[in-house]
Structures are given as C-alpha cells and as structure tokens.
Point group: C2
Chain length 275, copies 2
C-alpha cells in the first residue's frame, strides 16, 4: 500500500487547481529509504531546493520534509520515495499568483525489484527513437514536464530491456529514460553535458564526486553514440537502481565490468545516517 | 466560485497518483460557455480527441463530456471551461499501465474580463526572451507540459501588456503564450507553421477555415520576426479572447485594423447551438 502525505497530512489527492496538475509547474525527486533513512538526503534536499529555485518556486523547509519522512519511516521504513513540489494552486492562466504557496507531496511505495543478475552481468539497453528537445531554461531540472520520458518509455514493452537511451537531435547521448549515463575510456570517466536537455540526477553528481575522490577523473562533455559504443564500459545510475553496467546495446556487447562495481562501492560510502 | 467535475462527479481534487500530476501526462482544452452553450464544441471535442490520440490516451466519450457541460450550464451558464484529460492513475515510473483508465476533469470559472478597448484599438505585445524548444512529437498538441508557457508568462508583470510573443531558437515566430498569431500581407493571411513547436488552437483552425470561405487565403509557413513587423496587420486569436489586433510591438505601431474585425465577424458564424 502506498502512503501519501500532502503538505504533511495523509491524503490521497491534490487540489484540481494545483499547478502541478494543470501545467506540470513543479519539480520532483525520487529516492530510496532503507531502514527508515532517506538515502543521500543532504544531496537530495539540496537538489530539490536548487530545482525549485531554478523555477522560482519556494522550496519546502527541510524540517517539514524531515517530519514527513519520519512519519513515513514509522510505517514504511523501506520504500521508494517520490517528493513532488509544485508552485501550488491558482493563478490566472499561466501567470503565477502573487503569493504562491508551494505544495509538497511525499509518496511512498514499495522499492522496485529488478532481476538480481542485472547488477553483476549488466543490462540490455535500447536506443529510443524520440530525440530530446533542447531547452536550456529547463535542462538539468527534474521538473514535472515529463512527456518526453513517457513517450520514450512507451517505445518498448520487452521486460528484458531494462532501459532506453535518449539522444538529442544532434545525435548526442544525453541520458536514459530514468537514469544518467557514464562511459569509461582508458581509465577515465565521461558523462554527457546536460546544459541543453536531460535531467542531472543526484546519483550522477555523487558518482562524479566519488570518482574524483578516488583519483578517477570524469569529463562532462558532449558524447555521441559512436564514442559510447567505443567505450570499454558503459553504466547507468540513479538513486533506485544504483549502478547498472550495460551488457548489450543493440549489436554491441560488453562484459568483465571493472569500474561499475567500484563506483557502486564508492557510492555506498556516501550513505550515512542523518535523521 | 469555480465548479469542478472529476469523471463527472463534483470534486475539488484529483488522485495524487494521477499521471497528469506526476508527469504532465495529458492534454487540455480551454473554451467559453455562453448561455449554457460551449462555443465551437464540435471542433473543441475533435481537437481534444485528436490530442489524446497523439499521446495514445483514450479520449473521453463525447456523451460523457456533454453530460458534464449540462451539469455545469445549470449553475454557470456563462463561464470559462477547462477540460483536462489525463492518462489516469498509476503505472510504474514512466511506463504506461496495461489498461490505463483516462480521467477527465472539467473546471468552470468566471469568464476573464479584458479591457474593452483591446478589441478595437488593439493590444500591446512584447517579445519573450524564452525560445521554444523544437519537439516534433509534441508540436501542435495542447498537452499538460506547459513550463515553457509559465516561464514565458513570468517575464512581465505590466498589466498593460496583453501578451508575449514566443519565437523558436531559429528566430521564427511561433505563437503567443496563450494564443495563435496571424499576419496580414497584401490582403493575404499567414500564420506560423507549428510542426516543430507551439500549440495549434481550435480558433486558429477556425480562422483559417473562415478566411478560406470568404476568399482570403492563409499561408501556413515559417514566419520570422522581420516579416511579422513588416505585416500590415497582426492579430492574436484564442477561444477566450476571440481576435485581438496588435497595436504595439516594441517600437512598431499598427492602427486602422480592417482584417481583424472581419475575422471576428466570420468566427461568430461558427458559433451554432449543439446541445
């Protein structure tokens, strides 16, 4: 059973005039709770606040969210959390109301279960036909305008395919439908530049930081598909899947993953108790 | 007081797991009701169904919507209607659930009041800094991913400015934040091609059809800002404002509008009783 808190109160619904519903005018985070602890909380909260700021939405107080998480932890100590923050209700058309009261919705559901061998043996990735549009004003932000992701995810139904790779119009690799992408080249990491499109996830930031601490440099730059296919390793990251090595991308095969397991180990070092 | 029907029932809220709220996974229409009649209903319903179809969302039955409108007309015979259709609840992440049950939300509120002189003397238009992203898969559809419109509308607060003009990255004129744009050149109409971005409104279609019936051809093609400024007349259309001539666009001034009043008259001929 999912558990939902709307502005701290148990609710199943949001007002029909919420701008998240009417315009997708808001942002969200997806994260894991293990043993009652929200994973990578400081980074998750910082990114939530930054994304709110980018859209001039007042972020919720961290103390309010921590109280929500405590309420949820009491009933669902192991769950997937989705924290949505919208600009709140109202306004005339697209115009923002004078004193918008942002709204927070915390949604807790069971942690997703993925085939265990995906972690070690790697996953199958396909290339999506949809090309991401370039909108620098929204790039990097995990906002509620996710139709591109929905359309891309609807391109396949085969459950053996774990993820879809999204390119932009110019053919640059940007991200997976719900994760960020890293490649390994000659012992150096690279991850796509997301200044024109894509979502810059917290796990991506943590991987870059963790790699740096461990002497592994990460380039952030445009990466085309040929370069990705030539990489010695490719892996996908997000806060629920952790690190998935890519074993199959259409005709290309990879195995003997060395960097992905290391990165997974480093990531775990960021997981310390906070509340 | 607004009046809201969710799947035909009076409600103030939508389920928090509605994909309209979580991903902007839906479409909407804005239209006027006068004396209990929804204006241009056949066209509005056809466009709603077409937009649903473009996203593979099952459109609501016309009979269900007509029943909703009848319920609303009994209490608010003159109102602005917003009809939202979402893919409904659930699904795991972006993946669409196996048998999605689309949801309809009809929201009735007072008709907006605009300064009376805008209709005759024309409005002030500004050029928005935000450039619309090109996404052919979503172009033309009035979907719920409207952050670009929200950001563009947030660029000005001066109530004397009625609308903001949106261009794409290449500098083509696309639309207003909430309306479509027409220009008059040597007795011929032109309106921007919307195959890469923008919303193709019902009123735009009606203007093209009405002009054609009255011997006024309309080109649908890329239009840059220089061409718009060189036009003898520019006007904006949507289902709530009708037809607004543009009097001011930064340094450019227009007056003595001849085509806009004609188009307004032609549009009214499409307004016939249906239910």
């Amino acid at each position: 059973m999912p558990m939902i808190l709307v502005d701290g109160l148990p609710e199943n619904a949001v007002p029909a005039d919420d701008r998240g519903f009417t315009y997708g005018d808001g942002v969200f985070r997806t994260l894991a709770m293990h043993n009652g602890r929200a994973q990578w909380w400081p980074q998750q909260y910082a990114k939530l606040a930054a994304d709110c700021g980018a859209l001039h939405i007042t972020p919720p107080l961290e103390s309010d969210l921590l109280r929500d998480l405590k309420t949820i932890a009491a009933q669902l100590p192991d769950c997937a959390l989705r924290i949505t923050v919208t600009r709140g209700s109202g306004g005339r058309g697209y115009a923002v109301p004078e004193n918008p009261q942002s709204r927070r919705v915390v949604f807790a559901s069971p942690l997703p279960e993925y085939p265990a061998h995906w972690l070690e043996q790697g996953i199958s990735l396909r290339v999506c036909e949809l090309r991401l549009a370039a909108q620098p004003r929204l790039a990097g932000i995990k906002h509620l305008n996710r139709l591109e992701s929905v359309l891309a995810r609807a391109e396949w139904i085969d459950p053996a395919i774990a993820e879809g790779l999204l390119l932009d119009v110019a053919g640059h690799v940007i991200e997976g439908t719900r994760c960020n992408v890293f490649i390994v080249e000659d012992g150096v990491l690279a991850t796509p530049d997301l200044s024109h499109c894509g979502v810059a996830g917290v796990t991506r930031d943590l991987v870059i930081a963790a790699a740096g601490r461990n002497g592994l440099h990460c380039h952030i730059e445009p990466i085309n598909r040929q370069r990705l296919e030539a990489a010695t390793e490719v892996f996908l990251v997000n806060s629920l899947i952790g690190v998935w090595p890519v074993a199959v991308l259409e005709q290309r095969r990879w195995s003997g993953f060395k960097v992905a397991p290391l990165v997974r180990k480093w990531l775990n070092a960021f997981d310390h108790p906070l509340h």
